[in-house]
Amino acid sequence: MNDPVRVHMRVPGTAPMTNLMTLIQSVEAAGFDGAGILDSQMLCRDTFVTLGQAATRTSRLTLFPAVTNPFTRHASVLAGAMETVAELAPGRVKFVIGTGYTSASTIGRKPATLAEMRACIATVKALLAGESVDFDGTPGRLAYAAGRRIPVLMAASGPKAIELAGEIADGVLLLVGFNPGIVETALGYLERGARRAGRRVEDLEVIWAARTGTAATTAEARRMARPTAVHWGILRWGGHWLGPAGLRLPKFDIPDAVGKVYPDLSHAHDWEEAIAATSFVPDEIIAQLCDALGLVGTAEDCARRIVEMSKLGVRNLYLMPFQTFAPPEPEVRAFRDVVFPHLHAAGLR
């Protein structure tokens, strides 16, 4: 049998706590390997309250904050919180940290710099390992570090961040897109960073984030994916990934309606309004963007794409359903009922 494909699901803490636990238990029951609990302090319930409760209500699922950041909690608080969740769910936790997106923008600060990421990751790793660190001249350590293995992963979406992850982290959550050209290019950056630290890519855990949306028809899935496809493919990607993805897009004038969507296109509270605001992008370009960004289509489409990508060694996925703050119940069902059986038949589960 091939190496299995592992699949983790993003879970936003937006539903009432009871529903949230039911959802996380359904993620476990559906056969997912892990659940990443969104960390966005204004929009979600506290990540560590959710992780702590999930640790006591699940038995197999890997749990991680998805993703936390180096500025809303002190590094020592992050390390302590991870060690605490690991105590409740030994061997089932990861630490995933990025530069911050809505957790930064909603409090009026910029995402963390790579220097801040480097410092925070070094501190958290040392504290979890039971080592002493220097806090502005005061030696600090985590008194209850127990030597449990808690992988420290960095979420990265740009070349320099990916290199840094390759250099300093135990692994990387790559938010780059999901096609062969992108995979090859991203692994190149990762390898460059790993080599800088005398390591190999094979030594790192690599998780591929896939923006995911399933529907009864491919066309409907793509329509629903419009806000995310336009946000990431046109507004935010810049030059990093369009080339590797093999895409050539015309230049668009961005209409005012896009700026009016709160808090932004891909996190819109009113999804239909966000879809309407993307009408300036034709369907064929949306289709190309969807394929480059992730898993968009019917459940069968998604299963086929995962099998294809697994041939390139992409075997560790993190699903990010389009509507960031909506409970991912349709995707949980689609994977449970269609995608996982398909992967099983292909020898990948």
């Binding site: 937006t14 204004m42 560590f48 702590g52 002190h74 105590e87 409740l88 409090i107 209850y144």
Partner: protein
């Protein structure tokens, strides 16, 4: 004749392990405690909000919250979001104890919050947990799911902070001591603050922080909690000894204790801090000032003395080797007799 309020008790737990933490919290509830506090010191104890999650899941009546957190190690919106999550999980039982920061920040080499910083933080946390949107740093801060304003309790040890509590807090955890003169001095400061805001003492939920243990002999009770008494000496007098009712001949001894206090071993039984009270000849002073400790009869006498001076609600520490046995014994042999 005015009715004498009965004594009520809250308890602070140190999350030193989570293996039996839920059962410990249930024990406190089953034994009649009204308030359950969890210490926040990330380098020494397990994560506050994970511990509070277990506390909320394992109890059904008791009020619970951090005793105490600080405004520095987590962004205020994170703190608001976290305590609102606990409030939701516990069905509206959360309270938020906050102070200027002790070992949580001293282990990071960071300075504590100022009085002005505390005032601003308390106002912000109250608004955010109440679901209000506030303008900060050019953005609109709002914890979207909050539906109930979580009451904010200020841990206060000096006249200025006690006045601040009187002015703006929903409640206060008084940490200046339990001797009658100190209780009167503290109540006067809280009342000054309350009056300045057009309120009265009765508008505040006032709790008195006590370092506690009960045993068959006084010595056996004091011995295991000398590190907790040292922690009080270190914390309550760290900015100044003036205006706090401390005999002048003890000032130098207290300063010496503070110089030798190790925040990395904060409240850890048997560690170096446990020897500081004897070393500086402060044990008796600190027992009298901050303790309710001794035989059950000793404890009841100390509680009655404090109640005669105007204190009625006590947050006791359970920083002893077997906290479950302690809360049971306290409930049966001390609380029952004191009430």
């Amino acid at each position: 004749m005015p009715r004498v309020p009965r004594a009520r008790f809250g308890v602070v737990f140190l999350p030193e392990s989570l293996s039996d933490f839920g059962a410990l919290c249930r024990e406190a509830e089953d034994n009649g405690f009204d308030l359950l506090g969890v210490a926040d010191s990330q380098s020494v104890f397990r994560e506050l909000y994970v511990a509070l999650t277990l506390a909320a899941l394992n109890t059904s009546r008791i009020r619970l919250g951090p005793l105490v957190t600080n405004p520095l190690t987590r962004h205020l919106v994170v703190t608001a979001s976290a305590i609102s999550s606990i409030d939701e999980l516990s069905g509206g039982r959360a309270m938020l104890g906050i102070g200027s920061g002790d070992s949580a920040i001293f282990t990071l080499g960071a300075p504590p919050a100022t009085v002005a910083g505390l005032e601003d933080s308390m106002a912000t946390l109250g608004q955010l947990t109440g679901g209000a949107a506030i303008e900060r740093d050019g953005r609109r801060w709002q914890v979207h799911r909050s539906t109930r304003r979580v009451p904010v309790y200020l841990a206060a040890e000096g006249p200025r902070t006690l006045e601040l509590a009187g002015r703006v807090a929903d409640g206060v955890i008084v940490g200046l001591g339990l001797t009658p003169d100190v209780i009167r001095l503290s109540l006067a400061a809280i009342e000054r603050g309350a009056r300045a805001a057009g309120r009265t003492l009765a508008d505040l939920d006032v709790w008195w922080f006590a370092k506690t243990n009960v045993a068959d002999t006084r010595e056996a009770a004091v011995g295991p909690i000398t590190m907790a008494l040292a922690a009080s000496a270190n914390h309550a007098f760290r900015f100044t000894l003036e205006g706090k009712g401390v005999p002048p001949d003890l000032h130098e001894k207290i300063k010496s204790l503070q110089r030798e206090y190790n925040s990395h071993q904060h409240e850890i039984a048997g560690a170096g801090n446990a020897r500081l009270t004897e070393r500086w000849g402060l044990t008796e002073f600190l027992v009298d000032r901050f303790g309710i400790v001794g035989t059950p009869d000793d404890c009841v006498a100390q509680i009655r003395r404090a109640m005669d001076a105007g204190a009625h609600q006590f947050v006791i520490t359970s920083f002893v080797p077997d906290p479950r046995a302690f809360v049971r014994r306290w409930s049966r042999e001390v609380a029952a007799a004191a009430s």
